[in-house]
Symmetry: C2
Subunit: 353 residues, 2 copies
DNA sequence: GTTAGCACTCGAAGTTGTTGAGTGCTAACA
DNA sequence: TGTTAGCACTCAACAACTTCGAGTGCTAAC
């Protein structure tokens, strides 16, 4: 069977209506719509075909049809393709007042990202997530060891765009001032300008050797630093709007909703979205749409997830994403995400100069 | 009308049964229980009295009774009084395996507190919150300004029990090394050993004067530091187990649950629980029970909240708390909280030595 | 290929009756 | 005077049944 243009039009009509109403849509509803002038009977025939092809399904006999995952997929792909064409229209999108709200808090990256999640949730009425940028490609900018008191050293590491990590290191005895100075020189020589992912046990080993006779004493200093670096390269995830999940009956039953909340709270699972830039079809503008089973997290199999990529600086990227029901306003979501990443990119670019 | 002993016993029986079953409890159920041997008719009379006195209420005619807020209050007060007596029994409570789980991550206070919230949620099946300690009574331990690059200074401030705050400060030009040194000496002279709440505009003003001719240039350095201190004294709130809310039908309907989730996510509102150590009746062991309308947050008026106080060090305290339905296992919750705070106190005490 | 017509399906919603847990009241009892 | 048995009454919850209507698939005619 072939998927001719009329079938596609009908499918689109079905999906659009379903997205709006949330109820199975029947043949009469479609036949009454302007555009294609066909009787309900004809629509019925086409619908039977579409069902056979797997794009729609019937919750039960004598009910209308709802889109299947495959149906959504087709719809989204179509939409993304259209969006790619009408690109020039984008310049017209007026800046909304998110802009200011966002900028108000720019001083700390974590706060900003958390804020982004919140604004996004507020604007879309879906649950949202924002992953911190992947620092592995960033360079170390500054390292410093300071003596806080007799038994404690403080290691401060600044990487990339002013992300600061601290680590307290316990020591047995106070380190003489000049030794500390030497140590700082050593650390900066070895680490400054080096990308985070290059700092591994091996490099630390080399440094230990350089430290010469102090190597033993400095054992856990280096370990502490390695620790801080590792900590810096851990990706953090911010979420918001979890309560929005309850707004959609198809997700709102106690069991599903509970699991979803858990995933959002736990956050670890959401890391699955940051790695794979390859999978997923609609990869335009760095935007990816995962529908139902396409999501890498099993708990989210009844949801759709849309993610977009923002760039903090060359090669340092993170994702912002939306988690909602499969019956999601994909169009609006994609637009919103696109605008928001644009805005973020601008903020980061300006910030840097 | 007087609340004699028998009435109290009946009330307790009603509440206990209701806590277990969650269903309105009728006169027969109570009369069949061992303890007091009374016919259902007698119980009915007593119940009518209890209702008149406002301790219980009827969802509708021909249904059993459920406790009112006042009823819960009486019950909790009674329980707390008993607990105060059987104090010696506490030594017997076996350490459970939370202990190790907790200790595993002690290195960062934030991680620890987040973990505490999680463990508590896991053990009780309620939503939980943990507020960070109130640093206002802590002393500054260490301050340092470092030049990160030509236009940026990094201020590091360590307060109290190794809580580290960072602040990036933009400057117009590179500060000469010796000036930086002087500045650091100045900062440490003025700030080290001073409690966080004492650092205010005035003190900063004095420091600015001391800085002499550099005062102007250093304007936003000091501002930055004040900022960092303020940041340090902001109380953070960690939450967990939000999904547990959905487990209790009386809170689980979309509207209420949604609002609750919002409060838990927003966290700001939860700060209302940290201030008032005075209100609330059951103030033993630093444990407070807020029932229904007693909660300082309106959204939580259908919930009960139980909080306990932990002590990070002398005078530096925070709260851990549980948010659940009014039909909450108060006994278990109080015990769990008491054990957990005990454990925390031990951890912090050992850590310090 | 399209459409009107028709019999059929089946969930949703409304109706009705039954059940049973629970009540309040009264009268008798200890 | 407090306690209890007995009884009529109430009312949510449940199940059985009906009705309604949106929707279907199929067939025959255009």
């Amino acid at each position: 069977m072939e998927l001719d243009e009329r079938k596609v039009k009908i499918l689109q009509a079905i999906i659009k209506t379903y997205l709006e109403t949330g109820e199975p849509v029947g043949s009469r509803t479609i036949s009454k719509m302007e555009g294609l002038n066909l009787s309900s009977a004809t629509i019925r025939n086409e619908m039977a075909d579409l069902e056979e092809m797997g794009y729609i399904l019937q919750p039960h006999t004598s009910a209308g049809r709802i889109p299947s995952d495959a149906g959504y997929r087709l719809y989204v792909d179509q939409m993304m393709a259209e969006k790619a064409l009408e690109r020039e229209e984008r310049a017209l999108v007026p800046k909304d007042d998110e802009h200011e709200k966002l900028l108000a808090k720019v001083d700390r990256l974590e706060t900003l990202l958390q804020q982004v999640a919140k604004v996004l949730a507020y604007n879309t009425n879906y649950a949202t997530m924002v992953t911190g940028p992947n620092y592995k490609n960033t360079n170390v900018k500054f390292v410093q060891l300071s003596q806080v008191d007799d038994t404690q050293l403080l290691a401060v590491i600044v990487v990339g765009s002013n992300v600061i990590k601290n680590k307290m290191i316990d020591v047995d005895e106070r380190i003489p001032n000049d030794e500390l100075l030497k140590l700082n020189v050593l650390l900066n020589t070895f680490l400054t300008g080096v990308s985070v992912k290059e700092i591994d046990l091996e490099l630390i080993q080399t440094m230990k050797q350089q430290a010469g006779i102090y190597a033993d004493i400095l054992e856990h200093i280096f370990d502490g630093i390695l620790d801080a670096v590792r900590q810096a390269s851990e990706t953090e995830v911010y979420t918001s709007g979890a309560n929005n999940i309850l707004k959609y009956p198809e997700l709102g039953d106690m069991n599903k909703a509970g699991e979803l909340l858990e995933v959002l709270e736990e956050k670890k699972a959401l890391n699955h979205f940051i790695a794979d830039d390859d999978s997923g079809v609609s990869n335009q503008y760095g935007i990816q749409v995962y529908i139902g089973d396409e999501t890498p997290v099993e708990t989210l199999n009844d949801c759709s997830v849309v993610t977009a990529t923002y760039e903090l600086e060359e090669g340092v990227r993170g994702k912002i994403g939306i988690i909602g029901p499969k019956r999601m306003d994909y169009d609006k979501v994609v637009t919103t995400l696109r605008n928001l990443t644009d805005e973020l990119d601008t903020i980061f670019k300006n910030k840097k100069t």
